[in-house]
């Protein structure tokens, strides 16, 4: 190896070290909170981010409602509707409603972090407004589901299921109340798909650029007794209870 080659290798090593230092630099606290909304959080099924959980549960609701609409007996119909209800609104198992509220809360945590950008700060209240259409449909599905549970008539139950099915579909892809062929054209018609898109667009506007937050940071953000948010250097899995 010549001296020039040696110098070159050294420079490369220095660049690599510098790059590594950049990559391993902790994310901002605001970005970790955003990461909980879109990438992962250790309390959810599959450690998914809350928006992804909401999307998965909305699809489950739609599949259950579809199954209910195809049921030939009242018992089968009621069973499928009960599952749709559980996927929609279940405080213990992250229903669509709970997951979206948690996503909005975490985006709010991000917005009030000392290192939050103006982009995040402006987005948080708008996002909270925008989730209300899906939350309203979740409430509607729950009310109709209770009516189904109390129903003794297959015909009545079928009518109710058609309503549930329409709301469940709107919660996934958005609604198209004016029949324009475009689902989720306005916030009042948003489904989880449009909400997720909205979050991703906000993330794309972030400066400095948002990088997918490493799992270690996502799962090890802890709140100290004095109220400070820090990363647990021992990596003990985080104290996300601090959020609850």
């Amino acid at each position: 190896m010549t001296a020039r080659q040696g110098l070159g290798m050294g420079s490369l090593a220095m660049i690599a070290a510098a790059t590594a230092a950049c990559v391993t630099r902790p994310p901002t606290i605001a970005h970790v909170h955003i990461g909980h909304a879109i990438t992962g959080v250790h309390v959810t099924p599959g450690h998914q981010g809350y928006v992804e959980v909401a999307m998965g549960r909305a699809r489950e609701t739609l599949a259950d409602a579809q199954r209910a609409s195809e049921a030939t007996g009242l018992a089968g119909l009621k069973s499928a509707v009960a599952e749709a209800l559980s996927a929609t609104d279940d405080p213990e198992n992250f229903g669509v409603k709970q997951s979206l509220i948690m996503a909005a809360n975490h985006i709010s945590f991000a917005a009030t972090s000392a290192d939050a950008s103006a982009n995040v700060a402006h987005f948080a209240p708008a996002f909270k407004d925008d989730i209300s259409a899906v939350i309203g449909r979740c409430d509607y599905i729950e009310l109709l589901g209770k009516d189904v549970a109390a129903s003794t008539s297959m015909n009545d139950a079928r009518l109710l299921v058609q309503e549930i099915l329409a709301s469940a579909r709107a919660n996934v892809d958005g609604a198209d109340p004016r029949g324009t062929g475009i689902r989720g054209a306005a916030p009042a018609d948003y489904g989880v798909a449009q909400l997720r898109e909205e979050v991703l667009e906000m993330v794309a506007r972030e400066r400095p650029t948002y990088r997918t937050v490493d799992e270690w940071y996502l799962f090890n953000l802890v709140r100290l007794p004095n109220g400070r948010w820090v990363f647990d250097k021992l990596g003990r899995g985080g104290n996300i209870d601090g959020y609850k």
Binding site: F109, S132, D139
Partner: protein, 255 residues
């Protein structure tokens, strides 16, 4: 020390914002200055309007009372004087967040209320559920479509006189609806037919229901020989002498 206090204060406020709905009503905030803590803090600010710690104490007192907008106003009053003060900026940001939280819970409540109204409207129009009609009309008493749905439900429940009032109200709110005019005519006929006749007077309204296009039919379920309710078929659907109950009612009371 000051920084750690600030962080602690911020975390406390944030947790309040995230997990509770403690915003007081406007009326409560109007009455709040009478509270001793608020009165004392306000007096201190009146005596030294530019004193930042005094402002913070007054903002805290407003926050304790759940009056976040008032707290924000107190802080905004010195924003221009202390543009670089970090604690003031953090407090301002969090006050705005607290106000946003209150708005968020209002949104959730509104979404729940709208869902209930939508459900009641659906049950009123699809199942002629009079309880649901009543609940929906409490929220939207002058909604023509809802009034017509309620009237249809009343017709089905065998209450044409009540239905007539609702049809007429709907017609006055949204004139020119041909189908409502037909329903009014039908309800009028049935109302008159249902009125008690003076003793010995001829039955001037005999056959009115048939003339109005209604047909009297025996309930199909009467094959077991039990006495069946009479059902009159009308434009608003079958009218049964029995009241219709919601699905939540016992089966014995259901339609």
């Amino acid at each position: 020390m000051a920084t750690s206090n600030l962080v602690l204060w911020a975390a406390t406020l944030l947790s309040t914002a995230a997990w509770s709905r403690e915003a007081a009503s406007p009326a409560a905030c109007q009455a709040a200055p009478a509270q001793p803590a608020l009165a004392a803090a306000k007096l201190a600010v009146d005596q030294a309007p530019q004193d930042l710690p005094a402002r913070f104490r007054l903002a805290d007192a407003w926050n304790d009372a759940g009056c976040f907008k008032d707290a924000l106003r107190v802080l905004q009053g010195v924003q221009d004087r202390y543009p670089a003060n970090q604690e003031l900026q953090t407090r301002l940001r969090i006050e705005k967040s607290l106000i946003g939280e209150a708005h968020f819970f209002d949104d959730l409540d509104r979404a729940n209320g709208e869902a209930q109204l939508k459900r009641d409207t659906f049950r009123c129009s699809s199942f002629a559920d009079l309880d649901a009609c009543k609940a929906a009309l409490l929220v939207r008493p002058y909604d023509p479509a809802l009034l017509v749905a309620n009237a249809d439900a009343l017709m089905r429940a065998g209450q044409p006189a009540e239905a007539l009032k609702q049809y007429r109200l709907a017609s006055s709110l949204a004139p020119g609806q041909v189908d409502v005019a037909a329903k009014i005519h039908e309800a009028e006929s049935l109302s008159v037919a249902g009125q008690p006749r003076p003793e010995g007077a001829p039955d001037a309204h005999a056959g009115t229901a048939i003339a109005a296009g209604a047909a009297v039919a025996a309930d199909a379920a009467s094959t077991d020989g039990a006495k069946a309710p009479k059902t009159i078929r009308t434009a608003a659907g079958p009218i049964t002498a029995h009241r219709r109950y919601s699905n939540a009612a016992p089966e014995s009371q259901s339609h």
